[in-house]
């Protein structure tokens, strides 16, 4: 099959970008979307032209590296599927395909389809962990965890940090990403001691990183390749409000000395 691509090309962070057209001939339906881009790039390289830069690594939908807007949808038209797991059988012969990077102030473009998602790491740094230094752990079976709690924690923990939620959100909010981590750790007994601190710090960091605020459009849930539920955001908001209230109390009692 043959498709026509309109790809965002941008030489560097401060360069102006634009859409450039490419024809991709001899594409077979079993190819993955990234293999189709490989074929286009192979031709560009042979002609001495700079190939389209895009992030990718596992090509199995788990590392979260790949990410691009395909025809206006984060990761393309197939639900619960990353760009690397999308196959050309989802398109028809003669289709036109628009490919652009994630668009968000907090994710500046580095080159072509490659963006800087360092803000996500900094949100985790703010509190997305359990402080359990190596060697300090008790037996793994010492605290039973109800299967349902473990399963729900796993549902939230499945987030791959790709950034599709931000790209899909009209406000470019990172709420789904942040809430997924807050929910994962908050569902488990191990996450309780730092739960309130975590919610405050992570939400605060999200603001610092210039992500927009959440107005519950729900686009993030639709775009998430791992099916993270928007219910996690309600959980985050609850933890945050509770933490903010109790923290103020704590401050009053403890004073500033």
């Amino acid at each position: 099959m043959k498709v026509v691509l309109h790809v965002w090309r941008q030489a560097g962070p401060s360069a102006a970008g634009s859409l450039v057209d490419y024809e991709a001939n001899d594409i077979s339906p079993e190819m993955s979307f990234l293999e189709m881009l490989d074929v286009v790039n192979e031709r560009l390289i042979v002609r001495g032209e700079v190939p389209i830069a895009f992030d990718h690594d596992c090509r199995e939908g788990i590392c979260g590296s790949c990410g691009m807007m395909i025809n206006g949808a984060a990761h393309g038209p197939m639900k619960l599927t990353t760009a690397c797991q999308l196959h050309m059988r989802s398109f028809k012969d003669g289709d036109e395909i628009w490919i652009e990077p994630w668009r968000a102030k907090a994710f500046p473009v580095i080159k072509d389809l490659v963006v800087d998602r360092g803000a996500f790491d900094r949100i985790i740094q703010a509190g997305g962990f359990v402080s359990a230094p190596t060697g300090s752990a008790q037996d793994g079976n010492a605290i039973p965890i109800a299967k349902q709690a473990a399963d729900e924690a796993m549902d939230a923990a499945a987030c791959i940090g790709c950034g599709a939620c931000v790209a899909a959100c009209p406000n470019a909010s990172a709420s789904l990403f942040t809430a997924a981590k807050i929910t994962h750790l908050g569902d488990l007994p191990q996450g309780q001691p730092e739960r309130m601190r975590r919610a405050l710090a992570m939400v605060h960091q999200m603001d610092i990183e210039t992500f927009g605020s959440c107005t519950l459009f729900g686009e993030c849930q639709e775009a998430c390749p791992k099916g993270i539920s928007i219910d996690t955001i309600a959980r985050m908001n609850w933890d945050y409000l509770f933490a903010a209230a109790t923290e103020r109390q704590g401050a009053e009692v403890g004073g500033t000395g």
Binding site: I110, Q125, A158
Partner: protein
């Protein structure tokens, strides 16, 4: 000049070695720890766990990875599980059994003392991960669930759905991020290490290229740790992530670190078969599927074109159950892979090109119900369907072996130090504990054992002998290494040829898969050893790299890695040619029993082959570390 290999295995009874050694090793005074700077290259399970743990101890750490975040290291893709000798199931497991299974599974080519230690600390790993909030699968009673993997008759693999590696890595990554914000780890994402720097015989730093700006820089430290993963991508098509490469360990080899058993590579039996010529990678279907799935091909060649449902039960050959009745579908990987190749070579393979066998879930679905199977393997089934457009609940999966894992790696002693003092190697990057074949769910265990528990204890013994000094990157050794890296980049860019790095990589992969893959013989290996240098010459004449070195340039990154693979492949074939025996993943057709099983030669080959670089264009020097088995009787490995 040959290297002196001293494995420094502590004396005394096996079960007491590690404890005694920990007592005998020197300690660094807590107040002095922050005077030491340790570079960790790699943020996978091994690198991230090591970085976090060293930082918690008080060392200053710099951690490097080539992805845009440490959370994306290739460990994230591990699916099935992680072993630990917890014996929660009361099914007869013990530290000794895990030790025994691992040594036997590795076809008696691993060091007893290392493997025993691995089995000992395995139990602490699970505890550590649970404490970090890793959401392992649980039973209704709230306790940890386990499942079985190949090569074991007990249920000792802990798992988090089909995303065990992801959850373990996120645990280690979060611990790492916690240390970054505390200020004691500095993280360098999108940085590629291109050389290690040796000063006065010790590893004192690295040279990196910033993949965004192209800046080449030197980093000074008191010790360097490589946790840079495996080299299965030397076969081009493999289950590894696209970025996995041999560059870090190969450059260290060229600086004097011995490379252990490079020919020990693992071909995984259950991967989705190749679909077309533009295939860029192969997808693993976790070995855990073999807990329930049954592997078969038609008995008669004529049936291969039929739909699987049209082939009657008595016309199916469940060849693993037939040949290896006691382990059946859970036979170890090397054995299951070769058996698949054998039936396909006989013309009984299924699917395009006849390169596939069925992995069938009809029986377990009938017995346990679709819901149970969905709970156990749902995400793997979905992945299979997404890639092949076939529904494995309705028709059997088609699978075929693919390159997957490197047992070989840089040689290390009991303290995980290479032959270069101060250069430590952890995780898949070292030649490690798996001998000639790794058992399922043991790589995650080893990576985390090295990073959380072994290295943090052993590195102090080295650092205590290395007084902090005022070395800077102005030292001539750093200048020289930096100039070398820049010159090489310039040389690559100057070729101005017509072929992409991928096209060379594919061609190399084809040679390696055909001549040095699941079955090897002397004639084929010699052909490979002729073909590889020719391909390398062509590479340096005709590589095309558009763009410059002073920007994000993915063609340049790839070309650098492929250039290293093109040299390293020769080392793999040289090792494979020299090892005149069959063991584990290394099957030499000349050395097999009448019924096609691997024939080991313990009299002549019970050693680790540690190859030493002797200069470009010179044959590498073979050093041998004899393997002594004091606790396990060397026997013919049988899974019948």
């Amino acid at each position: 000049m040959t290297i002196k290999l001293d494995a420094r295995i502590p004396a005394g009874p096996l079960a007491e070695k590690w404890d005694k050694h920990r007592f005998e090793m020197k300690l660094v005074n807590p107040a002095n720890k922050r005077k030491y700077h340790v570079i960790v290259v790699g943020s996978g399970l091994a690198g991230a766990s090591a970085s976090a743990s060293l930082s918690e101890l008080g060392y200053r750490v710099s951690c490097f990875c080539f992805q845009d975040s440490p959370r994306r290291a290739h460990s994230i893709a591990a699916q099935g599980g992680i072993n630990a000798a917890k014996n929660y199931q009361n099914d007869g497991d013990s530290v000794w059994r895990l030790f025994y299974d691992t040594v036997k599974g590795g076809d008696f080519r691993a060091r007893e003392a290392n493997v025993y230690r691995l089995a000992q600390v395995s139990v602490n790993i699970i505890d550590q991960c649970v404490a970090q909030g890793v959401p392992f699968a649980r039973e209704y009673g709230g306790l940890l669930a386990t499942r079985s993997f190949g090569g074991a008759q007990v249920s000792r693999s802990f798992y988090a759905r089909g995303q065990t590696g992801q959850q373990l890595l996120l645990g280690a990554y979060q611990a790492l991020e916690k240390e970054i914000v505390r200020g004691s780890v500095t993280m360098y994402e999108r940085h590629e290490m291109l050389d290690v720097v040796i000063v006065d015989g010790r590893a004192r730093g690295i040279i990196t290229r910033d993949l965004v700006t192209g800046e080449v820089a030197a980093h000074v430290a008191d010790s360097v740790v490589l946790g840079t993963g495996g080299y299965a991508n030397v076969f081009y098509l493999s289950t590894n992530a696209k970025g996995c490469n041999v560059t870090a360990t190969y450059r260290a080899y060229k600086k004097g670190a011995a490379f252990g058993n490079p020919c020990f590579t693992q071909i995984h039996p259950t991967c989705i078969p190749v679909a077309g010529e533009h295939q860029s990678k192969l997808t693993l279907m976790s070995e855990s599927l073999r807990n329930d799935g049954r592997v078969w091909v038609p008995k008669k060649k004529e049936d291969c074109g039929k739909k699987p449902g049209e082939i009657a039960e008595q016309d199916r050959d469940y060849y693993l159950e037939r040949k290896y009745p006691s382990f059946g579908n859970l036979s170890p990987r090397d054995i299951a892979s070769r058996a698949a190749k054998e039936v396909c070579d006989e013309g009984r393979g299924v699917g395009p090109g006849g390169r596939g066998v069925y992995l069938d879930f009809a029986d377990p679905i009938a017995r346990l119900g679709e819901q149970t199977i969905r709970e156990r393997y749902g995400n793997l089934f979905e992945m299979y369907q997404r890639i092949t457009d076939e529904d494995p609940y309705k028709q059997p999966m088609r699978i075929y072996p693919a390159a997957h894992y490197a047992m070989g790696g840089l040689w290390v002693d009991y303290n995980l130090m290479s032959t270069i003092p101060g250069l430590h190697v952890v995780g898949e990057a070292n030649f490690s504990d798996h001998g000639a074949n790794r058992l399922g769910a043991s790589a995650l265990m080893q990576g985390l054992a090295d990073g959380y528990f072994v290295l943090p204890a052993t590195i102090g013994d080295y650092l205590a002998t290395a007084k902090p000094d005022t070395l800077t990157a102005d030292h001539p050794a750093f200048r020289e290494a930096l100039d070398g890296v820049q010159a090489r980049t310039a040389r690559l860019l100057a070729v101005g040829g017509k072929r992409s790095a991928d096209s060379f990589h594919k061609e190399l992969g084809h040679i390696m898969w055909e001549k040095c893959g699941m079955a090897r013989n002397a004639a084929g290996l010699r052909q490979a050893l002729e073909a590889i240098p020719k391909l390398r010459e062509e590479f340096w004449r005709d590589i095309a790299i558009p763009g410059t070195g002073a920007e994000l340039n993915q063609s340049l990154e790839k070309a650098g890695r492929v250039a290293d693979f093109l040299e390293f492949a020769e080392l793999v074939c040289t090792d494979a040619l020299h090892r005149e025996e069959s063991c584990g993943g290394h099957f030499r057709e000349e050395h097999q029993t009448a019924d096609g099983e691997a024939k080991r030669d313990d009299a002549n080959f019970a050693y680790v082959a540690a190859w030493e670089y002797a200069g470009d264009g010179r044959a590498p020097v073979l050093n041998k570390e004899p393997l002594e088995f004091e606790n396990i009787h060397l026997s013919t490995r049988s899974y019948k």
